[in-house]
Symmetry: C2
Subunit: 160 residues, 2 copies
Amino acid sequence: MRQFLKLLPMALVIVASACENRTQPDNNPPQTEKDPVFSKGEKVTNDNFIGNVWLNNLVQADSSNQNAVGSVTFEPGARTKWHSHPAGQIILALDGVGYYQEKGKEKVIIRKGEVVKCPLDVPHWHGASADTAFVQVAITGREKGETVWLDAVTDEEYHK
Amino acid sequence: MRQFLKLLPMALVIVASACENRTQPDNNPPQTEKDPVFSKGEKVTNDNFIGNVWLNNLVQADSSNQNAVGSVTFEPGARTKWHSHPAGQIILALDGVGYYQEKGKEKVIIRKGEVVKCPLDVPHWHGASADTAFVQVAITGREKGETVWLDAVTDEEYHK
């Protein structure tokens, strides 16, 4: 019994600390949701993007509905080239923190829940912020033609 | 000491159960994410919907981009009337469990991460499942006119 008595405080500590371990905040929280709405899709391998980017093509344009919809996941620092859309684009920020810039304007920060409407034919770029990944849904009309890809976004432009 | 000994097992049980209480599943878990991508917006008061529905108008159609985009939150049992869209509609399931049915077809269950493309002018309805709320983004082209609202979805149709 004495032996048992000696061990009991230790047992209490073990039970209590196990409990704490299960409820302490994670020291390395993910930068975006653990359970994203859409799977990341395929890694983008074309050179219209810089850095690590994944694309999940959710909806293809067809003859009756010419919107293409895709979920795009950018790792921190990843971004598109400068580009424009003949029929414009709508960006829905699903998660994380991103950057968006139109030619001749300041770069803006976009966060989960925010929406950007890119005007027709206006050069712009978007991507993740330098520190945090970014997940967006892009809604792109194809009725007036394909995306026009332009120059890469330099590090100076990206960080400005 | 004997008194202490008698109380110790109870103390162990209390510590362990407190721990359990913190890690057991919540008896009243939220039916959808605690931190939704978009705020719920305004409660819908028109009679094109049955049950409790909220609408957050994210993007208005304009002359250059005629897509309207809205986030719609349906409480369990809530749904649209039968309706059709002259330019079709794309539904992105953001959270929860919903129902979608086109006229003459079986009702289908749609879950977070799934996408539905509603054809032009085809009567259909959508909403939450009977037990779980549903959050969707609806992308609706306005270039061919407004939504055509039809009959209410009866309980028999809804539960079938």
